[in-house]
Amino acid sequence: MVCIMPSTAEAVAGVPDGAVVLIGGFGSAGQPVELIEALLDGGARELTVVSNNAGNGDSGLAALIRDGRVRKMVCSFPRQSDSWHFDAKYRAGSIELELVPQGNLAERIRAAGAGIGAFFTPTGFGTPLAEGKETRMIDGRGHVLEYPIHGDVALVAAYQADQLGNLVYRKTARNFGPIMAAAAKTTVVQVDSVVPVGAIDPENVITPCLYVDRVVAVPRTVAA
């Protein structure tokens, strides 16, 4: 059952050192910046962060990396024009990187939420990203065996939650939110607004409330 939290600090309370944290967003779109900053203030260290990118600029995930809280990044696309904090840590050898093709990243997160033990995928076969992994020919095509990525915590940004925790997203900010919400033991969501039960049409709910543990409203200053 969902808890509507009064602050981002309380929403992310209790994340232990060494936790695996799934962080939504594709670049800035859908990145739960305020939750990440609350996590930074909370002091958790030695985190494994699973997120498509490795931070942009100086805020959100980039700040978490800058402050040395992240032991390992699992992502598909760390290198960006403004990923300087990750770049510096990586070149200094002070952050570990598991590079995962984006589709495998998404499917592995989905598998965790869906109770799949492992799956064979053609993506990555014959490339350095499949090195050391089990492979198999299926219907004449090379496949790699990939395992689920479970999170201790997921930090997700959505557009609206109702009082039960049902979520809707906006446009391409949806990206990793729905699959990460399902793949973590505790799912924490920041939303633009919390609406009454019944305000979201049941046909249009993207993340059903049973995937959501904590919700906090963080109204956006940028028009949306």
Binding site: F26, Q80, G103, T121, G126, P128, K171, N175, I206
Partner: protein, 211 residues
């Protein structure tokens, strides 16, 4: 050996995309193909971050931080668009539902192997994104690149020296100097741009055939 410029090349690629196709255009050079797809062609663009029916780049008031393309550039939405999450977006790519993807490349091998994600240099931070999924998943994978790299070495090669993106996945290579069809056991030159077949053959270490 003049070749054609990037926009002319983009126009050549666009002309080869069947009306009504579902298409993913990679970051960089391939993005230009969109400029030459006419609205009445019914081509719908997919962006791997979770949208089908992507419109042109957003300008001014259209800019919405929640609506970006795979290169994180603000874009617009066309009528008939749809949004979906990452697993659904990649299921679309990996399940063979896109007709064409157009990707840039460091190298393409004569058998269709693609290298476009990592130079392999120690100081280079690798990043792969959706390249591996796209290269393997689309019904046809087109590559768009200059035939020669800045140091003059050909990017169509007998065997890739850069780390692979995918094995035997490229079906056509569009370059400033020629269009190559990658067919089983052979590479066919379909079109030449300001160069003769013999001149072209001298540039690449792959046996070419005339169409």
């Amino acid at each position: 050996m003049n070749g054609i410029d990037r926009d002319t090349l983009a126009k050549v690629v666009a002309a080869d995309i069947e009306p009504g196709s579902f298409v993913n255009l990679g970051i960089g050079l391939p993005t230009r193909v969109a400029n030459f797809l006419t609205p009445d062609s019914g081509v719908m663009l997919h962006t791997e971050n979770g949208m089908l029916g992507m419109g042109p780049e957003a300008a001014g008031d259209q800019v919405d931080p929640d609506l970006v393309n795979a290169g994180k550039i603000p874009v617009t939405e066309l009528p008939g668009a749809s949004y979906f999450h990452q697993a659904d977006s990649f299921a679309m790519m990996r399940g063979g539902h896109l007709d064409v993807c157009v990707l840039g490349a460091y190298q393409v091998a004569a058998n269709g192997d693609l290298a476009n994600w990592h130079t392999g240099r120690a100081d280079d931070i690798p990043a792969v994104g959706g390249a591996m999924d796209l290269a393997l998943g689309a019904k046809q994978t087109f590559v768009m690149m200059n035939l020669l790299s800045r140091d003059g070495s050909p990017k169509l090669v007998a065997e890739c020296t850069y780390p692979l993106t995918g094995v035997a996945c490229v079906s056509r290579v569009y370059t400033d100097l020629a269009v190559f069809l990658i067919e089983p056991g052979r590479v066919v030159v379909r079109e030449l741009f300001g160069i003769t077949f013999d001149e072209l053959q001298k540039l690449v270490d792959v046996p070419l055939e005339q169409s």
